[in-house]
């Protein structure tokens, strides 16, 4: 499977690359910087991943072409917030800003420990996006639309603090109709 990660100047992108490469059999993972977004040939990829990164979605224009490409999209952290704002949702400061800490969330019928790194969070969910998981403070932790093949994680499956990171990649492949 040809997978493209668009790197929003983050320092966790290579962790995501390694997680995808070791979880998805036959994966060929390419990492491209956000600066190349406008000129990327998206047609050759079967999955497009939008990385975490500093700042807010408004500072990363140009993702329309990814969402209108017809390709399945997985957004992580900032990537999920970008997806949410594309659908008309909102982003704001997270009360109790959280970096490098774990949370336990209900996801897909089971409790999972996940790593959280975020100052901002989804404050208004975008059109036709479903909250698939939220934490005990009702902060959205996973948003998606199965039909449109969009999925976002607010937490970080690629962190070493997330013990079963691969499970979230497997879930994404199923949800996005990639197997």
């Amino acid at each position: 499977m040809n997978i493209l990660i668009i790197d929003n100047n983050d320092s966790f992108t290579r962790n995501l690359e390694h997680l995808l490469a070791t979880t998805v059999s036959g994966a060929d993972v390419v990492v491209e910087p956000y600066a190349h977004l406008a000129s990327l040939d998206l047609a050759q990829f079967e999955l497009i991943v939008i990385s975490p990164g500093p700042g807010s979605p408004a500072e990363y224009p140009g993702y329309e072409r990814v969402f209108t490409s017809g390709k399945p999209v997985l957004g992580i952290c900032l990537g999920m917030q970008i997806m949410n704002e594309y659908r008309g949702g909102g982003t704001g400061r997270l009360p109790g800003c959280m970096h490098g800490k774990t949370d336990r969330i209900m996801f897909d019928g089971a409790v999972h420990t996940v790593a959280r790194y975020h100052s901002l969070c989804v404050t208004k969910v975008g059109d036709r996006l479903e909250i698939l998981s939220e934490n005990s403070d009702t902060v959205p932790m996973c948003l998606g639309n199965r039909e449109d093949r969009l999925l976002g994680y607010q937490f970080h499956p690629e962190s070493f603090l997330t013990p079963d990171g691969g499970a979230f990649i497997d879930y994404a492949l199923d949800y996005l109709g990639l197997r």
């Binding site: 100047n9 983050d10 320092s11 966790f12 992108t13 290579r14 962790n15 690359e17 390694h18 490469a21 070791t22 990164g53 500093p54 700042g55 807010s56 900032l78 400061r93 800003c97 959280m98 970096h99 490098g100 800490k101 790593a115 790194y117 975020h118 100052s119 901002l120 970080h156 962190s159 070493f160 603090l161």
Partner: protein
């Protein structure tokens, strides 16, 4: 065609250090001196009579540095400054560059300490030089002498960020964290003493004796003398096996007791600081490591150095077949523990909030053996003495996370500067 000759001589570590001090005094030797029992323990190396030197400037490419290190045999030793890392990561600066971006040397002879066999290994292609060194070793003292350090500063240092400014910097950093531009940021201040009569080598050797740490380095670079007393490893590559040991989490103590360790490891703030940087280091080595090889071990281990408890973790990986140790080093440089996370955004904010240039501080001291073997420190707890300016510069910093308190972070920087701030009291 000359060939490399080696001589092995039985010596203990104290005598090796004394010999190193002697060669630094009489032959302008460069030194990396380690101590046993620390996570970042490395091989002690003395380099004498440089045969090739590379002073790194803004124009120097990483390919040029690789060529310098790998195109001829023999180890290369020296430093790479934080400012070279700014160039690599695309961070621009208007601050005057008053210090080389790096300086590497190859030597006419090296002496290394084989700790397993308690031997000094003297190596050179130059037989007369080898004979001269082995004669000197026969007469070297058993240990570094206890001596007064001439010319220690008698007045307090000037600082680039005093208490009020540093605490304001912490508050500004917290605001940037709340806005999501950084998740953790290392903010430093610079101390400068005027000390026209200082004997910097005597100071280095006195500190070496009184405050042991695993990555002491004494490097001669033009008019500058580097006195590094680092406890932290950046990257080691041993036959392609990669190890990084980021330190995050500091607790100052007067009297050590075991329960202090759990005070550090149980702190959610210190835990988050280290965890974040471990994830960052995983990322930074992953670009050049085999898929599936990167793993974390000994997370939240603790060791003591000076009067500080330091928490660290081991990040391992296997270097990709088609990459060398300098590909890894330059992609991961400067070390994440002294930038913050995400790296580029944090470095941009550091450049804005710190009035000083970091120079060698937060760069690395490196010993590069070949394409698959190197070791390097994070150049913290590091001073520079300018023999022309007659100034002694030292820097100290602290990792700021959302739970940080400005006053405590300032105290932490002072604790890290303590062995230099108390110099006048020696």
């Amino acid at each position: 065609m000359t060939t490399l000759s080696t001589i092995s001589v039985s010596v203990n570590r104290d005598r090796f250090d004394a010999f190193a001090g002697q060669l630094a005094r009489t032959m302008e030797a460069d030194l990396v001196l380690s101590s046993k029992g620390y996570p970042a323990e490395t091989t002690s190396v003395i380099g004498v009579r440089p045969v090739a030197e590379l002073v790194v400037t803004e124009e120097t490419t990483t390919d040029r540095i690789k060529d310098f290190c790998f195109s001829t045999p023999g180890l290369a030793m020296g430093f790479v400054s934080y400012t070279y890392g700014m160039k690599l990561r695309g961070i621009s600066s208007n601050k005057p560059l008053d210090f080389p971006l790096g300086h590497l040397k190859k030597y006419g002879a090296t002496v290394e300490y084989d700790k397993d066999n308690e031997q000094a290994i003297l190596s050179s292609e130059d037989q007369p030089l080898l004979d001269e060194l082995s004669e000197l070793l026969k007469t070297s003292p058993d240990e570094l002498p206890e001596t007064e350090v001439p010319g220690l500063p008698t007045s307090p240092p000037s600082t680039s960020l005093g208490r009020a400014e540093y605490e304001a910097g912490v508050r500004e950093t917290l605001e940037r964290i709340l806005s999501g531009y950084t998740y953790q940021l290392n903010l430093s201040t610079k101390f400068t003493w005027d000390c026209p009569d200082l004997d910097p080598l005597a100071l280095f050797l006195a500190l070496r004796k009184s405050h042991p740490a695993p990555f002491y380095s004494w490097l001669n670079s033009g008019p500058n003398k580097v006195l590094s007393t680092s406890p932290e490893r950046f990257l080691r590559v041993a036959d392609g096996h990669v190890l990084s040991q980021p330190i995050k989490g500091t607790l100052r103590f007067d009297q050590y007791s075991p329960e202090l360790v759990s005070r550090l490891t149980d702190s959610p703030k210190e835990d988050a600081e280290l965890s974040m940087i471990v994830d960052l280091i995983r990322n930074d080595i992953s670009a050049n490591c085999e898929y599936g090889s990167v793993r974390v071990e000994n997370h939240k281990s603790v060791f003591a150095v000076d009067n500080l408890l330091q928490m660290y973790g081991d990040v391992h990986g296997e270097l990709r077949e088609d990459r060398d140790c300098l590909d890894l080093f330059f992609d991961a440089f400067p070390g994440g523990s002294i930038t913050g996370c995400p790296k580029k955004s944090s470095m941009t904010i550091i450049e804005e909030l710190e009035p000083h240039s970091r120079g060698i501080y937060c760069g690395s001291v490196v010993v590069i053996r070949d394409e698959k073997n190197m070791d390097s420190s994070i150049a913290i707890r590091t001073a520079v003495y300018g023999t022309e300016t007659k100034k002694l510069d030292y820097w100290a910093g602290s990792g700021i996370v959302v739970d940080s308190k400005p006053a405590s972070e300032y105290q932490e920087t002072l604790a890290k500067a303590e062995k230099f701030l108390t110099l006048g009291e020696r």
